[in-house]
């Protein structure tokens, strides 16, 4: 066992490992390299992420699904532009809408995006795929086996999110709506959705 220094030593090792890693590492890979259990590795990664945030360090630990990578803090992003210029076009309203549906409803299909927006969304989804803000995550087990989409590390980087948990919650009406939808139709009568009159 290389594990002789305890939690602080493990944290330092993980920080160094992620610093030299040239791609996001999964929890399982990290646990194997650190020679600790996966549960222990994940706890140490979460602690490291929290410490970087709390100490207002220049780097952050970013998580997507079960993979991790070190990135610069969003607070310094604008000042870094002077060194690392990577100009990109801003996203159109349509692209932002489609991206929001994928981000909040993932994994979801192109049909799901189109149902929410009421608009053909083939082109915008292809543009999001091309910009690597979304990626195919699998196929839904329904007729036609439609492709499922989810967001990527590129999405988190672009919008300065440490993980998907950082996404702001949807507006309260949506929560109310979810509650209403969960109820059987007529029983919802007295609640927020007054019927016509």
């Amino acid at each position: 066992m290389t594990d002789h220094g305890g939690a602080a030593d493990l944290g330092a090792f993980l920080e160094a490992l992620l610093f030299i890693a040239e791609r996001p590492l999964t929890s399982a890979e990290i646990a194997e390299l650190a020679d600790v259990t996966r549960v222990r590795a994940e706890a140490a990664l979460a602690a490291l992420a929290e410490r970087l945030q709390e100490e207002e360090r220049g780097i952050r630990l970013q998580r997507h699904e079960d993979a991790w990578q070190l990135v610069t803090a969003p607070e310094v992003g604008a000042r870094l532009a002077a060194y690392a210029a990577r100009e990109e076009a801003r996203l159109s309203t349509a692209a932002l809408e489609a991206l929001a549906v994928v981000a909040y409803r993932q994994p979801c299909t192109r049909g799901d995006v189109e149902r929410v927006r009421g608009v053909d969304s083939d082109y915008v989804i292809r543009s999001l795929l091309h910009r690597r803000l979304v990626a195919e995550t699998g196929r839904r087990d329904t007729p036609g086996r439609p492709v499922l989409f989810g967001t990527t590390f590129t999405f988190l980087e672009r919008f300065g999110l440490t993980s998907l948990d950082d996404l702001p919650p949807l507006s309260s009406d949506a929560a109310q709506l979810t509650a209403l939808t969960a109820m059987p139709g007529p029983a919802a009568g007295g609640a927020g959705l007054a019927d016509g009159e």
Partner: protein, 261 residues
Amino acid sequence: MTQADRMRPIPIDTDPGVAVPIGDASFTVALPDFEGPLQLLLHLIESRQLDILTVPLAEVADAYVEHLARHPVDAVNLSEFVVIAAQLIFLKSKRILPSEPLPPLPDAAEEVDEGELRRRLIEYRALRDAAVGLGARDGTAPAMRREPRESDLPESPSDPMPAGVLAAALATLAAIPEPVAPPPEIVAREITIGQQIDVLRRALSGGGKVLLQSILARCRTRTEAAVTFLATLELVRRKQVTAEQDEVFGPILVESAESGA
């Protein structure tokens, strides 16, 4: 459409029977282009400061249809706009004749569910607002950076393909021989009732009795089994054999009529 057209005040002269709280006749609005029907519908509700949770959607039917008439929409999404227009007009017609039960709709048509349309609007609004939130965070550079990676490079190499590759590919294509006819043994077997009658007769020639399942077990395909079964029925019909089965799914004993008689 020119910019000047869009800036011209668009009068919102609503049907006098429909209460829309816009009193000021000089109220003008420069309408943006709407990509989808929910976007337009939501705009019509919000610009009138109506409560999305309670407003009868029929109240904006006229404004919706009028907008559609004035601003042709993208052909790709036209049907979506028209579907919502039809739903709004239906909701309005129900309000105009509140006491009259409407004639039943043709079987294929579904009753317009105002609650469902409202749910779609609220869901769309929540995600549109989330999109606005994302847009506010969206800059011309990523907010968080990392070291560049090889995988950041564009997926498809943009190097032009040398013409020689195409010529070589064509030559390879020309060298591919014509496909040969498939070997005869994989040609689908055709099994006739006549053949299977012969099979049954041969089996019966021994003791005059045979268990049908023992013959079916030797069939190689489902089709062969089905044809064998039909052959048995044909022999029964011709009264050349008798078939007995004591219980459902039990053994079927086939017996030559001659031997039994």
